[in-house]
């Protein structure tokens, strides 16, 4: 059997495979562990956690859409302390590699969260989800504001010191994604997670009101894959040295390969796990096989391969 170096790195974090859960799509990990051992994938990205317990948004929280879905969870969660006490030890015990996702309502909250992570062992990296409303600036989403984005990452970087890699998770709902990406990398992000959900809405034609309790929701699933591939391609073109965790509608090995070729160093799988609890396992093996079939000796050789310069041919 042909082998391949399937590992990937983000900052100084090494992962044996480039396949991750997407934040908020694997809960605490326990639920998926029923279907496959968590240590068999690249890593678990945990649900974005905030300082305090959050009840989240009213129901209905989801609506199915053509080849996708809207969600409006509103970052329901137990708060950082309960999370660190209950979920991290379990994941470590399962020998899963863990990327902790944090979310805040102020620049300060992100730093506070980062401080709590400093002394925790068993964490490979921190994903900073900046697609959250900034309560200090009329609820404008951090990731839509170049300056606020930079300040969040800068604060987290200072707090964490140089050890844990920081992955900034960006929203695609911006005019100039590349400049936001550049800003957070300048501020100290080691990697980028692209893309968070796209803002959407469904109106129920029977009640004739928005279907979701929270009115708008985040669009995910295969419907947004072309947007995600474009985002990864654009950002990789501008920042070829910055590792990207690509996500958005990946449902099979072919989709994962597309994202790697566009420039992702790893892929996160969200919505696909809802339709298929073992999606990550099959994506992982399909991707590996497709890389081998195309003659790649290592995953790293395939990252951003779609950008290679056209050989000059004289026909």
């Amino acid at each position: 059997m042909t082998t391949i170096d399937f590992s990937t790195t983000i900052g100084n974090a090494w992962f044996p495979a480039p396949t991750f859960t997407a934040s908020g799509c694997a809960s605490s990990g326990r639920e998926l562990a029923q279907f496959f051992p968590l240590r068999e994938m690249g890593g678990v990205v945990t649900k974005s956690v905030m300082s305090r317990v959050r009840p989240g948004r009213p129901t209905p929280r989801m609506a199915e859409t053509p080849s996708g879905m809207l969600n409006s969870i509103g970052l329901q969660g137990p708060g950082i302390d309960a999370f660190l006490a209950q979920d991290i030890p379990y994941l470590v015990e399962q020998k899963a590699r863990v990327i902790v996702s944090i979310a805040g309502e102020t620049v300060e909250e992100y730093s506070t969260l980062a401080r709590k992570l400093r002394s925790v062992s068993g964490i490979s990296a921190v994903e900073v989800n900046i697609s959250c409303p900034n309560v200090e600036n009329r609820g404008l989403v951090f990731a839509c504001d170049p300056d606020a984005s930079r300040r969040v990452i800068d604060g987290v970087r200072r707090t964490l010191g140089g050890e844990l890699p920081i992955i900034a998770k960006l929203s695609p709902d911006v005019t100039d994604l590349v400049s936001i990406a550049r800003g957070v990398v300048d501020a100290g992000a080691d990697g980028l997670a692209l893309i968070n959900t796209v803002l959407g809405m469904v109106i129920n034609v029977n009640t004739m009101r928005p279907q979701l309790g929270g009115k708008t929701g985040g669009l995910s699933g295969p419907a947004i894959r072309p947007i995600a591939v474009r985002a990864v391609y654009q950002v990789h073109a501008a920042l070829p040295k910055t590792p990207i965790l690509g996500m958005g509608g990946i449902a099979n090995g072919k989709d994962a390969l597309e994202m790697i070729l566009a420039g992702a160093s790893g892929v996160s799988i969200g919505t696909a796990s809802f339709g298929n609890p073992t999606a990550i396992m099959s994506i992982q093996s399909e991707l590996k096989q497709m890389l081998i079939d195309r003659g790649f000796k290592s995953l790293k050789d395939a990252i951003g391969y779609a950008h290679r310069v056209e050989e000059v041919t004289n026909e």
Binding site: G24, C25, A26, S27, R30, E31, L32, A33, Q34, F35, K47, V53, P55, G56, R57, P58, T59, P60, R61, M62, A63, E64, P66, S67, G68, M69, N71, I73, Q76, G213, G221, P222, A251, T271, A272, S273, F274, G275, N276, P277, T278
Partner: protein, 278 residues
């Protein structure tokens, strides 16, 4: 290993039969040994739409009954109302078609340790899981009475064979096309008292479950209800299916109806906060 959904498996299962019953389809699926793991109240999550489908999410269906006889090799029965795209697709499957299922999921109805009188209340296809439950309760010596309701007679699901385990069955329809005109809750207070029911089991629309809880609370009777919230994953990973539930300490938190439910203690659900921000 974690206790969540500890028996759940994802399998391709063949449809054994698909029969129209009123407005519903009774669909029997061969699930082999998994049938032994299914308890009344559990549900199954089914992939719908086939290949190239634009439908990305599974659909949840209550398991109506299971058979573990060696003749059939283990089957489960579903009662499906063809409504939207997914359920219509499922109702169009024929004998031999393979469906991708995850089963068994969620909590089950708690069965009393002693044989006490119980009352089962179902709305629409909500009666489905009550028949499997009735058989078990009856076998354990409980007296089982049942009340079913629906908007109209064709929406009442009450199969002949299901009635065997039931002592009495009362039917209500809103349009009066079968049984009494009205709703299952109309005389529920009196009926619970008359039957000296120790437990009320229910399954149906959320408004019905809420109304039943008001009555059972007033009578201080246990109410186990099977709730139905929109579910994206069915396995506890998405947090879409939550309900406000009161804990021991009185605080309300959003619990997932797919793993902390669908069967819940009606008195702990904070019904007036359903669909509202906490």
């Amino acid at each position: 290993m974690s206790p969540i959904n500890k028996n759940a498996k994802q399998v391709l299962a063949p449809i054994a039969s698909n029969k129209r019953v009123g407005t519903y389809h009774q669909i029997i699926v061969n699930i082999g040994d998994l049938a032994q793991k299914c308890k009344p109240g559990n549900f199954v999550a089914i992939k719908v739409g086939g290949e190239n489908s634009a439908l990305v999410l599974r659909r949840a269906f209550a398991i109506s009954r299971v058979s573990t006889s060696s003749a059939t090799g283990g089957t489960m029965e579903l009662i499906v109302a063809p409504g939207g795209q997914g359920s219509t697709w499922l109702c169009d499957r024929i004998e031999g078609d393979l469906i991708d299922i995850v089963v068994p999921l969620g909590t089950a109805f708690g069965v009393p340790t002693e044989p006490v009188p119980v009352l089962l209340v179902g709305g629409g296809y909500g009666s489905a899981p009550l028949f499997g439950l009735a058989e078990i309760l009856n076998a354990r010596g409980s007296r089982v009475d049942m009340i079913l309701g629906a908007s109209t007679s064709s929406n009442i699901y009450a199969p002949m064979e299901g009635k065997r385990a039931v002592n009495t069955m009362r039917i209500y329809t809103e349009d009066g096309s079968a049984g009494q005109t009205g709703r299952v809750t109309d005389n529920l207070y009196e009926q619970i008292k008359d039957l000296k029911a120790a437990v009320v089991y229910s399954c149906g629309p959320m408004s019905m479950l809420s109304a039943i809880t008001t009555i059972t609370k007033a009578l201080d009777v246990v109410h186990q209800c099977s709730v139905e919230e929109s579910m994206a994953c069915g396995i506890g990973i998405c947090m879409t299916c939550v309900l406000p539930v009161q804990g021991e300490d009185g605080s309300v938190s959003m619990l997932r109806s797919c793993i902390d439910g669908p069967v819940m203690d009606g008195s702990s659900v904070s019904w007036n906060q359903v669909g509202k921000a906490l």
